[in-house]
């Protein structure tokens, strides 16, 4: 029954492709079995919508008259510092950047009301953004100061450029200490007061292709409401971690680096966020189609929240101090029930990742494919797999004087 991407694309163009979401495939496989489902279904669509800090956008603003070289100086977008260490009028803004005069955690927990993620959201929404730059001035780029409104429609290039998205799995965060802590996993109440998790679970892209057999460099994806591509494995890609019998990693494993034209994206799927006591970030919507090339691949996509395990980590002690201790494992099925048991205590759970938005993304992507508007791609090259030897190493500090 093996199919090829080319055959599936032919069916998509003819409007005959059978497409289901990673949620719908679960019942379909229960009802029809793997063999029959694999022969009927051509594509399974996945989705995730979650804070993804390693996201950024780069632009080329065009040359002013007289010219200015932003590099070497300072450039701000709505007071948020942008990175300009490239050619004259290229700049990049990271999702977690915050204004120089933000009070940060001086009064703890800091509010972090506005940052790079919000700038990206506003640009995508078509709002004017204030650019203020100072530079040193050269013979060929004499201008030293630039203050102007910019708008995404006038930029030469506006590209979403994400170093690490769509993490394959994530920790469940808890707090064993006696005081409330404010983390990137949200507010964690003392003495196991709550447990926060962050994954779309059974809908999440890499849980549906755990060994990266179809997702690789060049894969076309839903990104921020438009289309984008996988450019590389994401940073901290760590495919060799322990997995269960279904190939599902029990802790953080694979990640994806993504790129896409910001001009065709939508601010519903790129939302600037403020994480109390931590900082700013960007919630990103991603959907990856999985071509059903074999029964094996279909079987992976039928994964359920009950099959996926996450590890519980104490964010008051173990996480900040890079200790390997954990407080056990739970399934996403248990997490979604609203309560889990840790050390014999019932602990309420909450999610950072929006499951309903993940469903929406998988459904939109399904529609795009059904309508023949989105064709699948064959990877140009694979991303490192479970046996690649690629690992995520801690920093080996070497004191400068010693």
């Amino acid at each position: 029954m093996a199919k090829t991407v080319e055959q599936i694309n032919k069916k998509i163009k003819e409007g005959k492709a059978v497409v289901v979401t990673a949620e719908e495939i679960i019942d379909l496989v229960k009802e029809k079995g793997v063999k029959k489902a694999a022969s009927e279904v051509d594509v399974v669509t996945t989705g995730t919508f979650s804070p993804m800090c390693s996201s950024s956008a780069y632009f080329n603003i065009g040359h002013s008259n007289p010219r200015i070289k932003l590099a070497g100086g300072r450039t701000y977008l709505n007071d948020v510092p942008a990175y300009t260490g490239m050619a004259a009028v290229d700049l990049l803004i990271g999702a977690t950047a915050i204004p120089d005069d933000d009070p940060r955690n001086r009064v703890h927990p800091g509010e972090f009301n506005y940052g790079g993620g919000h700038v990206i959201e506003e640009l995508v929404a078509g709002k004017d953004v204030r650019l203020v730059a100072t530079a040193h001035g050269t013979d060929c780029y004499p201008r030293r100061r630039l203050e102007t409104w910019i708008n995404i429609k006038d930029l030469n290039e506006a590209v979403l450029f994400n170093l690490r998205n769509a993490c394959q799995n994530y920790n469940v965060a808890v707090n064993l200490s006696d005081k409330t802590i404010y983390t990137y996993m949200g507010i964690l109440k003392p003495r196991l007061g709550n447990a926060n998790y962050s994954s779309a679970g059974q809908l999440s892209p890499l849980f549906n292709d755990p060994y990266y057999k179809t997702i690789g460099i060049g894969t076309r994806v839903f990104l921020g409401g438009g289309t984008g591509f996988v450019t590389w494995q994401g940073t901290q890609h760590n495919p060799g971690v322990p997995r269960n019998e279904k190939g599902v990693p029990k802790s953080g494993a694979g990640t994806l680096a993504l790129v896409g034209d910001l001009k065709q994206m939508n601010s519903k799927w790129l939302v600037g966020i403020s994480i109390l006591g931590y900082g700013c970030s960007l919630s990103v919507g991603i959907g990856v189609p999985i071509p059903v090339l074999s029964e094996e691949i279909l079987e992976y996509t039928a994964i359920t929240d009950d099959d996926i395990i996450a590890t519980i980590i104490d964010y008051s002690q173990a996480y900040p101090n890079l200790e390997s201790d954990n407080l056990g494992e739970v399934t996403y099925g248990q997490l979604r029930s609203g309560q889990i048991k840790i050390q014999n205590k019932n602990v309420p759970t909450a999610s950072l990742s929006s499951y309903s938005r993940a469903v929406e993304i998988a459904t939109i992507l399904k529609k795009w494919i059904q309508d023949g508007k989105f064709l699948l791609t064959e990877p140009v090259a694979p991303i490192p797999g479970a046996d690649s030897g690629v690992t995520f190493k801690p920093l080996k500090e070497r004191p400068l004087e010693g």
Partner: protein, 136 residues
């Protein structure tokens, strides 16, 4: 018939130093639970109460409060959700001490049950896209 409602009372400056709420117990047989109390820099008093008792007594109590010059507002008008901003992640669910957020198990969207809200404001800054709004 018994009733129990959550209300917001605003005390203008001239009433801030007078005992008013205590008469609800003494003269109107009402019980109340103070959910929040504050005095703003403009010296206006704000009190969030859960008030309960017989419907008849309740109505008389409200009439008394109104006559003294206290402004009364139903609590559900004070904390609202900006539906455009909410992404339905659900981080608010465990932050809220009153259980006013609940995941709908069929749609997986987060319901805001404003009748349960005690207007403590904890969700305001805990919400990453800042979808919850406080209108005091």
């Amino acid at each position: 018939m018994a009733t129990s409602k959550r209300i917001v009372l605003r005390f203008p400056r001239r009433l801030v130093d007078r005992p008013i709420v205590s008469r609800l117990v003494r003269d109107y047989n009402l019980d109340f639970n103070i959910l929040k109390a504050s005095v703003t820099p403009e010296e206006e008093g704000l009190l969030v109460l859960e008030m309960s008792g017989k419907q008849d007594d309740y109505d008389k109590g409200i009439e008394y409060l109104t006559k003294t010059g206290v402004q009364i507002q139903s609590l559900s008008q004070d904390v609202t959700r900006n539906e455009e901003r909410c992404t339905h992640c659900g981080l608010c669910v465990t932050v809220c001490p009153a259980g006013a957020f609940e995941m709908d198990t069929s749609t997986r969207k987060i319901k805001f049950l404003d009748k349960k809200c005690i207007a403590c404001g904890l969700c305001i800054k805990a919400c990453p896209p800042r979808a919850m709004e406080l209108h005091f």
